[in-house]
């Protein structure tokens, strides 16, 4: 008699693996909100310590945590990659990672060389092995989908991104001479935003837009070649940029064109969805993709306009792009996984998705998130609004934290009190 539960759960990692990364991501989000009260509009000055700290709280603390949740969950579904002992792997990643992010944030603010060394050690040791394991699994796949290929490019970007970061922290720690520091910094920034974050979102979207909303598939030309084109563009620009830094002016225009094309195409796909309901997650996607368009437009305009505001808008809208998509995925993944795991374990009383997180709850978060973005934009022109933006950032991520705790409690409660279908009687 085969174990029916085992068969299904073999494929999906335990729910705690995904929830824990969402949880740490949300807590870093709250930290980002708190930091705003200290740094205020200094976060808009790209060269300031405030901006560097705030950006890394969002990109490393929030985005990377949550993207690991997505990778652990999506790799088995999208790419048929089943990671062995996922809980153990998640532990090995998460604790040193969280300690590494905190060390790095402290290092920026205290300018202490040994803290940069510690951050390099912790982040390198936690991120590189798991990225290599995931890459190895993906490379061994006999059949590739556009998503699995895309994830491969995103993970390659992550590895390059980490090495570039290690060069920089190594320099700041005094271990390296850092002759190419400025050039590497530019490449690190581009690989982080356009390589890792955008590429992973793009790759996952090739599957989930079709899967969640039942839309026509992406054109093969786009799904097959866009991720690789973006990655090659970044690699070539980095190599040339070592000697001719001005190359990034051209590269940014090309990146903006490619990413805007992707955003427009995905927005069109969402208008072609066969499913009738437009829930909050669809609006999160629309908001995210529109933000990407505004961000790319601002980025292209920046060199032509003698105005720092436009550059700041490009940052704000890129953050809005990434976070909106994160929330869109979050409100599908958390309710589905809670139901799916309990249902697979044979609980009759497994709560339905709407009972885990009701669509109205997601919609309320959409309004909070929208208000957060609006206040951030307003604060560029009217600085005191930054306090409202900070407050709303805290509210937004506290909302998210609460949803994870609520789902987890419901999961545990069902396991403790729920009526279970006895597989032994089959």
């Amino acid at each position: 008699m085969f174990d029916q539960n085992g068969l299904s759960l073999d494929q999906a990692p335990p729910i705690s693996v995904v929830f824990r990364f969402f949880f740490s991501g949300a807590l870093f989000g709250i930290l980002a909100g708190i930091l705003i009260f200290f740094y205020r509009t200094d976060i808009f000055d790209a060269s300031s310590i405030a901006a560097v700290t705030f950006t890394h709280t969002l990109t490393l603390g929030v985005m990377l945590s949550i993207m690991f949740a997505a990778l652990f969950q999506m790799l088995p579904v999208i790419a048929g990659v089943t990671l062995t002992s996922p809980v153990k792997k998640a532990n090995w990643v998460q604790y040193p990672f969280v300690a590494g992010v905190i060390s790095l944030l402290l290092a920026f603010n205290l300018s202490t060389p040994w803290l940069f060394g510690l951050a390099s050690l912790l982040l390198g040791a936690s991120l590189l092995p798991i990225a290599f394991i995931m890459l190895k699994n993906l490379l061994q796949l006999p059949n590739h989908s556009s998503s699995s290929k895309g994830m491969l490019t995103a993970l390659l970007s992550l590895v390059i991104l980490i090495f570039l970061a290690l060069y920089m922290t190594g320099t700041l720690a005094g271990a390296l001479e850092g002759a190419y520091y400025t050039q590497i910094k530019e490449a690190h920034y581009s690989f982080g935003l356009f390589g890792w974050i955008a590429l992973l979102i793009i790759s996952i979207s090739f599957q989930v837009i079709e899967m969640f909303y039942v839309t026509p598939a992406y054109p093969v030309l786009v799904s097959r070649y866009l991720p690789m084109t973006l990655l090659l563009l970044l690699i070539i620009s980095t190599l040339i940029g070592l000697f001719y830094p001005d190359i990034w002016g051209v590269s940014n225009i090309l990146l903006a064109l490619l990413l805007s094309g992707y955003a427009l195409l995905t927005l069109k796909r969402l208008t072609q969805k066969k499913r009738p309901l437009t829930d909050a997650t669809v609006w999160f996607w629309r908001l995210g993709l529109s933000s990407l368009l505004v961000s790319m437009l601002s980025m292209v305009l920046t060199p032509f306009m003698d105005n720092m505001f436009i550059k700041t808008l490009s940052y704000i809208f890129f953050a809005s792009f990434a976070l909106s998509i994160v929330f869109a995925m979050f409100y599908k993944i958390v309710p589905f996984l809670t139901w799916f795991h309990l249902n697979s374990q044979g609980y009759f009383t497994a709560p339905m998705m709407h009972e885990v997180i009701h669509p109205k709850t997601a919609k309320k978060h959409l309004y909070i998130h929208l208000a957060t973005i609006v206040t951030f934009v307003l604060s560029v022109f009217i600085p005191p609004f930054i306090f409202v933006a900070g407050f709303l950032t805290i509210v937004s991520f506290t909302w998210m934290t609460y949803q994870i705790i609520h789902a987890h409690k419901l999961y545990k409660h069902t396991q403790e009190t729920g009526e279970k279908f006895d597989m032994g009687n089959m």
Binding site: I78, Q207, M211, P276, K332
Partner: protein, 146 residues
């Protein structure tokens, strides 16, 4: 790629019927919802039968393994059947919130199942089955009735 093409087309057909039923239920047209849901469940169950009675045995005979991917797919079919039963219950009692909530679970469950089949299992079938077996399996699948 004849297996992939034929089976993927069936998946899309089921998606369309499912979306029709969901749309009708959302707008409170229960008669239409019932009609579309019935078409969806019949098509889906017939598709499962084609796989379980023809395609999977052919694949298992060729690869010499009845464990592994086909076993996982069979288990997921059972999960989908369970949800079809629950959806039918919600439809009968015209419980819109429950129906739409179950639709959400069904859609994700079904789509991730379809993805595994389309990207892995069907592709493997097309690769490992000899051309004549593919042809004959396809013909047999076309004749399957509920």
């Amino acid at each position: 790629m004849i297996i992939s093409q034929y089976m993927t087309k069936e998946h899309r057909g089921c998606d369309t019927k499912f979306a029709e039923a969901e749309q009708a239920a959302a707008s409170g047209d229960w008669a239409k919802a019932e009609e579309a849901f019935l078409a969806f469940s019949n098509d889906t169950l017939k598709h499962f039968k084609k796989e379980e009675e023809e395609l999977f045995p052919a694949f298992e005979a060729q690869t010499g393994s009845s464990e592994g991917p086909t076993q996982v797919m069979r288990y997921e079919h059972e999960q989908v059947k369970g949800l079809i039963g629950k959806l039918a219950g919600a439809l009968e009692s015209q419980d819109k919130d429950a129906y739409l909530s179950l639709c959400e679970s069904m859609m994700i469950l079904l789509q991730q199942h379809n993805m595994k089949e389309e990207q892995m299992l069907y592709a493997m079938c097309d690769r490992v089955l000899p051309p004549e077996t593919k042809e004959s399996t396809l013909e047999k699948m076309k004749k399957v009735e509920l």
